[in-house]
């Protein structure tokens, strides 16, 4: 079953609707006790780094998620950022389960990176199967994830600079865009994640 982490900063409702349409069973997770029978978790996110981390720490989920090495994880936007070690956006440490730091976008173009953008994959990825890469996804962010291990970078997007639009170590996935608001492509990606 899929668990959607509810840390009061996320588009839980849109994710729930998408999972309903895909006929996938899910549960809202507020604390470690909710985690029974969960194989995949989604970390949603619109919000700021410190607020989200604080919420996870208080609920006990922060420590819990760091221990569970069997779960498939999908972090979305801020949910992706908190997977790393730290962020320029805040002062709290990240979960550290996917080594990397979060840095501010360069000021080359209008900020934030806002709108629909295409995605390029250096090699194929199951997460992006059947996705129209040119159509891409919806992005809305000021900060981006820099992996420590460049081998974890699985998708890129161009916005005045190369932005890492998805990362993965094979178990943990992070996407910079918002699949829950990216129409058909987003729904396909979430379906692919559920089948990993």
């Amino acid at each position: 079953m899929i668990g959607i982490i509810d840390y009061n900063f996320g588009n839980v409702s849109a994710l729930c609707s998408t999972l309903n349409e895909l006929d996938l069973n899910y549960k809202i997770i507020s604390e470690p006790n909710d985690m029974e029978n969960i194989s995949h978790i989604i970390m949603p996110g619109v919000g700021s780094f410190d607020n989200v981390i604080q919420n996870l720490v208080s609920s006990g989920l922060s420590a819990y998620l760091c221990q569970r090495k069997d779960l498939k994880v999908l972090g979305i936007c801020i949910g992706m950022h908190i997977l790393g070690d730290r962020s320029e956006e805040g002062i709290m440490p990240g979960l550290g389960i996917l080594p990397g730091t979060v840095v501010k976008l360069e000021n080359k173009l209008r900020t934030p990176h806002l709108g629909w953008n295409s995605v390029k994959l250096p090699i194929t990825s199951k997460l992006f199967q059947n996705v129209d890469l040119d159509d891409g996804f919806y992005f809305l962010h000021n900060y981006m994830f820099l992996s420590e291990n460049k081998g974890n970078d699985i998708a890129f997007t161009n916005y005045g600079q190369t932005i890492v639009s998805a990362v993965s170590d094979g178990r943990i996935y992070g996407v910079q865009f918002h699949p829950e608001k990216s129409g058909v492509n987003g729904k396909t990606l979430i379906k692919n994640f559920s089948e990993l």
Binding site: A14, T18, G47, L140, K181
Partner: protein, 250 residues
């Protein structure tokens, strides 16, 4: 590179959608917002804006219950404006499924400019949008753009460039220019206004008001890419009798 965003704009009055002309009290009945947003989602629109035209005037908070039901059916990003007075309003809306929260310049003036940083702090600058109601005055033969503030039935006008300069100091995501004079008029988007605004800001711009046709929108979207072109009448009505029939650009 990001593409331009073409954005249907809907007005909420109470629990139903309406369309106004020049912000007047005369409204055309458009119907149920839940079904309308679902239709636009199925039409695969880039984004959608929803503005509540009464909440600020009435001093009321957003109708969170209705907005939650509306947002559930949207597979595209949503922006909501109307009656936002605090960061907790904004947090509620984000949790309900709105990616961007708009506060009007009038709303900013009501609360004080510190609300902008408050919102940025709590929901992140990427989700904060300021909407400016822009009108024109003629001074010494020149057309000047002014941002309108309805201050308890007294109208105050501020120089557009001045307002944009103030807003530049805040790391917001987007400014929506609401062309009051052209609203509902179908006489074409004012590209001079658009260009002047683009020069004055570092964040993203969306222009709303006056769009005539799908082809005009497509052409401006391409010329000024990346930009947001929002429209209400064009995506709501069809034909000379202005029959309500929601539609979108192909």
């Amino acid at each position: 590179m990001v593409r331009s965003r073409i954005i249907p704009s809907l007005l909420l009055k109470g629990e139903i959608l309406v369309k106004t002309v020049n912000f007047s009290d005369r409204t055309i009945y458009v119907g149920d917002p839940i079904n309308a947003v679902r239709i636009f989602s199925e039409l695969k629109v880039d984004e959608l804006c929803l503005f509540d035209i009464q909440k600020r005037k009435q001093g009321l908070s957003p109708n969170f219950s209705l907005l939650g039901k509306i947002a559930k059916n949207a597979r595209m990003p949503l922006c909501y404006g109307g009656g936002i007075r605090s960061a907790s309003d904004a947090i509620n809306l984000v949790n309900l499924g709105f990616e961007k929260i708009s506060i009007s310049y009038s709303g900013v003036q009501d609360c004080s400019v510190s609300i902008i940083n408050d919102l940025i702090d709590k929901i992140g600058g990427q989700s904060v949008v300021i909407t400016l109601d822009v009108v024109r005055i003629i001074e010494n033969g020149y057309t000047l753009y002014k941002v309108r503030y309805n201050n308890k039935n007294k109208m105050e006008l501020y120089d557009l460039d001045g307002v944009l300069l103030i807003l530049k100091q805040h790391a917001i995501a987007e400014i929506i220019i609401n062309d009051v004079d052209r609203e509902g008029g179908n006489i074409g988007i004012d590209t001079e206004l658009l260009e002047q605004a683009l020069k004055g800001i570092d964040c993203h711009l969306t222009i709303l008001g006056g769009a005539q046709s799908h082809s005009e929108i497509a052409s401006l979207a391409q010329k000024y890419s990346p930009i947001g072109i929002a429209a209400a009448s064009v995506f709501t009505f069809t034909g000379k009798h202005r029959a309500v029939l929601l539609n979108y650009i192909k």
